[in-house]
Symmetry: C2
Subunit: 279 residues, 2 copies
């Protein structure tokens, strides 16, 4: 696990010529496989020249001397000349491009931009613009703020307050460029025993989030300690009423209790078959 | 590039026993190296049993027959029995765990959870809770909504309206668990020629986003067509006034014009040395 108190056995570097997101996402995922290892992590983004690569080699050497063990380096360096410098490092080098790009060149019978030395500007792409537009949509349609433009939504999340709708909507937008609105189910809806009036017209896009009442009470207590809103019996009542309403209305739902937003989002995509329309 | 019109040469699968985020992030990054290839992508998350792996193998075979070329498969399957089934697929298999976990086991002299067969629940971790808390913080402190709790912020972004502050704040929260507030610089601030009054007390945390006036006018026109707000001369005036103010106040800034939110976020982390405090 990452080290928070200065006692670590190894240093793990994420070295990249760009933002380092890929190196870091993969590196974290791989390192969770070694739960008992205490490691310190260091990001080195924007290593895009031989000189910066030599500086990186220095820092890796220093960390190795300090730890008494050679560091682990996850790298995504596209430029072969920069990469060649990094290879001098005394470390376990896990090179994402060498492992994957080279086999692909053979399979596809074409050269990669890596080989050609071209780089990629993601901020110009249609996909990127769709993501930014989706983030704006999620913010404008958070917490039932607006029912205008719901026909543009890819999915509309419903659930009791603090069941995870907002972070999931933002994640669907940021990661997948999907337009996710979200509507709270509130005591007034339970009294009327009906969905908020804007929603029945969009039934096919509705997806519910539920949550264990005990966990909901915990989350709500952090926000409004000792309130009626956070009381366990109230949480039990709201969750039961919301689930009854969703069941009667034929709305698919999942429990967010032990799931991360990544897992909730991936499940929704699969259930609503949203991936089919993404490309 | 991903195919949007049905004419593709290859199918690329992202097969995972979890959300598939790692397989997909890495896979996308690797595939951008082959810009001229038209491919169709299919996500297959939650492949966590031998039976589901056999279904995946079927789907891969179908895609291969349809395309007349074998598919490319990026996989992150932890369970060796499930992975063994996938290996029967007629495809170029790029296995993230085999490429990285096995060399690490040797380097670290320890077995991975992969080998032990244990899985990981990220929604329980401290890091995950920090991310959710940071998302809530970013939403509560978006667009100068609240100056309460700014002492808890890791960074406070400033800039003219539509310079990219909101998506960057949300990304810093979601990806890195950093608490990012953001404040707009508005015509009233330029008339007074001073920062919003809540900010000077937090000068060390301020980071500016600027943007080319032409790009700003474009973005604002999409939101409010033909308004004074979106007029190029007004955008020029606001950007010049904001940059003058930031320069005088000694606030570091970057231009968001051609950068993605990932790149903006990674640059801010490096400039403000935020990675030092993350672990």
């Amino acid at each position: 696990m990452p080290d928070r108190d200065g006692s670590h056995e190894r240093t793990v570097f994420f070295v990249s010529d760009g933002t380092g997101i890929t190196a870091e996402t993969l590196g974290h995922s791989v390192m969770t496989q070694f739960e008992s290892l205490r490691y310190r992590q260091l990001r080195m983004p924007f290593v895009d020249s031989a000189e910066k690569a030599r500086e990186a080699v220095q820092k890796i050497a220093e960390a190795g001397r300090r730890d008494g063990r050679r560091p682990v380096v996850f790298s995504t360096l596209v430029n072969p000349a920069v990469n060649a410098e990094l290879k001098a490092a005394d470390a376990l080098l896990l090179d994402l491009f060498e492992s994957f790009v080279e086999p692909l060149e053979i399979e596809l019978g074409m050269k990669s931009s890596h080989s050609i030395g071209r780089s990629h500007n993601i901020s110009d792409s249609e996909e990127y613009k769709a993501r930014i537009e989706a983030i704006n949509f999620a913010l404008a349609h958070d917490d039932g703020q607006s029912s205008k433009g719901l026909q543009q939504a890819d999915v509309i999340l419903v659930g009791v307050s603090r069941s995870g709708k907002t972070p999931t909507s933002l994640y669907l937008a940021m990661q997948y460029g999907l337009k996710a609105a979200n509507y709270p189910l509130i005591p007034e809806d339970f009294d009327r025993d009906a969905l908020p009036s804007a929603l029945p017209a969009h039934r096919a896009k509705l997806f519910g989030l539920s949550i264990a009442p005990e966990r909901l009470a915990e989350v709500r207590h952090e926000r409004r300690p000792n309130s009626r809103y956070a009381a366990l019996d109230n949480c039990r009542h709201e969750v039961a009423a919301a689930e009854r309403l969703m069941r009667r209305e034929g709305i698919r739902w999942l429990s967010s209790t032990t799931k991360s937003i990544e897992e909730i989002a991936a499940t929704i995509m699969q259930e609503v078959r949203l991936d089919r329309r993404s490309y």
